[in-house]
Amino acid sequence: MLKPYAVQTISYDNLTTFSKQFTKELKPKDVVALTGVIGAGKTTFLRHLLSEMGLCLESGFSSPTFTILNQYELPNVLINHIDLYRLDSFTELEQIDLISLFEPTESMTFVEWADKFEELEPYYTKRLHFDYSSHSPTERLITCYAR
């Protein structure tokens, strides 16, 4: 069971600082759940985080909502960026052989819309939940969860 341990108010301008701080908490084999409504900032956060981890953004970073899985080879680790938004059932995950990426491997996996299928809950090692803030359109509340 993942437990919340921090809630932070993050503006777009200090997203880089937050990403830097979160990078230090990541370990290989982590399967990180990213949750929150449309436009809450899941993909944007990941773009900042992967940039901190050494991804050259010019080489291409995009949302995997339609492609379902994007992979990035960083200097030390393979990143799986998964988006469950368009999947309708857990069976579909198995049909397209995506489930194997949730097993601990040497890669690091980030999953958007991670709370769609209960069956996946045991795989997650960390979770970040994104909420809009009532104070400012460019501000978000990020709740951090860990085991």
Binding site: V37, I38, G39, T43, T44, R47, C56, L57, E58, S59, G60, F61, S62, S63, P64, T65, F66, T67, I68, L69, N70, Q71, Y72, E73, D88, E92, Q95, I96, D97, L98, Y132, P137
Partner: protein, 348 residues
């Protein structure tokens, strides 16, 4: 076999659809273009199963192949080559197509081509037209929004692309925020026709990385806040929101066409991919091209979404020698690792 009796089978299983097409190898004429979601299956005890299960390529593949050959009026024995998408896409999906294609090519003892899915889209506006080079190509869909410099069928470089959401995703997710259902693109297109595109101001995002990039993720947040502000989202407001956000997406794309055209004179501008079906995009791109005095080819509606015909066509256009005709076609798991200016080749 007489030259005009040669047929090529094009296969695409890169994402949601299982698609097969038969083309005349000499002319590129499309004889059939069969897509799994369009096939209605008759259930054994009456009634109709709505459609084949999405992404269940293993279950669909033989059926779609048979239907495609039947629609074209040929048998598999009449095929002279097979083309299959090898990348980019979901590895599990690509493997189903590649394995099926390999087995069939081996059985029939005919050559097999591996085709890049994006090259398939990129070249699809040339189907039935006279290809012109150099060409400025826009591929715009749910998963991709990218501009390419196409010097020839084989010499293709990426010019710029989205840094977050593809244009099609922006349409779909904004439609979701407005409770319009899925897929959102066609609904937004329809409602926008009755709305005022100046009612709401959705600015085109500027990307710090450079003018060759686009960003659409801010649109969702903008729509979210507009929705939050309204106490009652009337049909009228929805239509205005659709018109305004569609106009902003189209503006972002047409501005980029003008930007790239200013850097280099192209003989033709092409638009392909699922979002190329959007009526306003087709209209505005035509206007921009008329102003630039350059012809514009848009993919025909039946070749905008993922389809096997574009894969067969790309293989026909890209083949140069018998080297490509091998069974050495592997699906590739690496996607989205392309660098700007890096060449897209038949083998990448």
């Amino acid at each position: 076999m007489a030259q005009d009796n040669k047929y090529i089978l094009g296969i695409d299983t890169s994402c949601d659809e299982t698609s097969f097409a038969v083309l005349k190898a000499t002319t590129g004429e499309v004889l059939s273009n069969t897509i799994s979601s369009q096939i209605k299956l008759h259930a054994p005890f009456g009634g109709i199963v709505p459609e084949l299960a999405s992404r269940s390529h293993c279950e669909n593949i033989s059926l779609v192949c048979e239907k495609s050959l039947k629609d074209a009026g040929i048998t598999s024995a009449q095929l002279s080559a097979i083309a299959v998408t090898k990348t980019p896409g979901l590895i599990g999906c690509l493997l189903v197509g590649a394995s099926f294609a390999k087995a069939l090519a081996f059985q029939l003892n005919i050559p097999l081509f591996g085709v890049n899915h994006l090259v398939g889209h990129l070249l699809s506006p040339f189907m039935g037209e006279k290809p012109l080079f150099p060409c400025l190509g826009l591929v715009v869909s749910g998963g991709h929004t990218a501009f390419y410099d196409v010097q020839s069928f084989e010499d293709i470089s990426l010019l710029g692309q989205t840094v977050d959401d593809a244009a099609g995703e922006a349409f779909d997710k904004c439609a979701k925020l407005l409770d319009l259902g899925y897929p959102g693109g066609p609904v937004v297109d329809r409602l926008a026709k009755e709305g005022n595109e100046k009612a709401f101001n959705f600015t085109v995002a500027k990307v710090k990385m450079g003018q060759e990039y686009l960003s659409f993720s801010g649109l969702k947040t903008a729509v979210y806040h507009h929705v939050q502000k309204q106490t009652n989202i009337t049909e009228h407001i929805k239509k205005d929101l659709c018109a305004s956000l569609q106009s902003s997406i189209v503006k972002a794309l047409t501005e980029k066409i003008a930007f790239f055209f200013k850097q280099k004179k192209y003989k033709v501008v092409t638009v392909s991919g699922g979002v190329a079906l959007n009526s306003l995009l087709r209209k505005r791109v035509q206007e921009v091209c008329d102003n630039l005095c350059v012809p514009c080819y848009m993919a025909k509606p039946q070749f905008c979404g993922d389809n096997g015909a574009m894969i067969g066509y790309a293989a026909l256009m890209q083949k140069h020698d018998d080297e490509l005709f091998t069974l050495n076609v592997h699906a590739s798991k690496k996607i989205n690792a392309r660098k700007l200016k890096q060449k897209l080749t038949a083998d990448c």
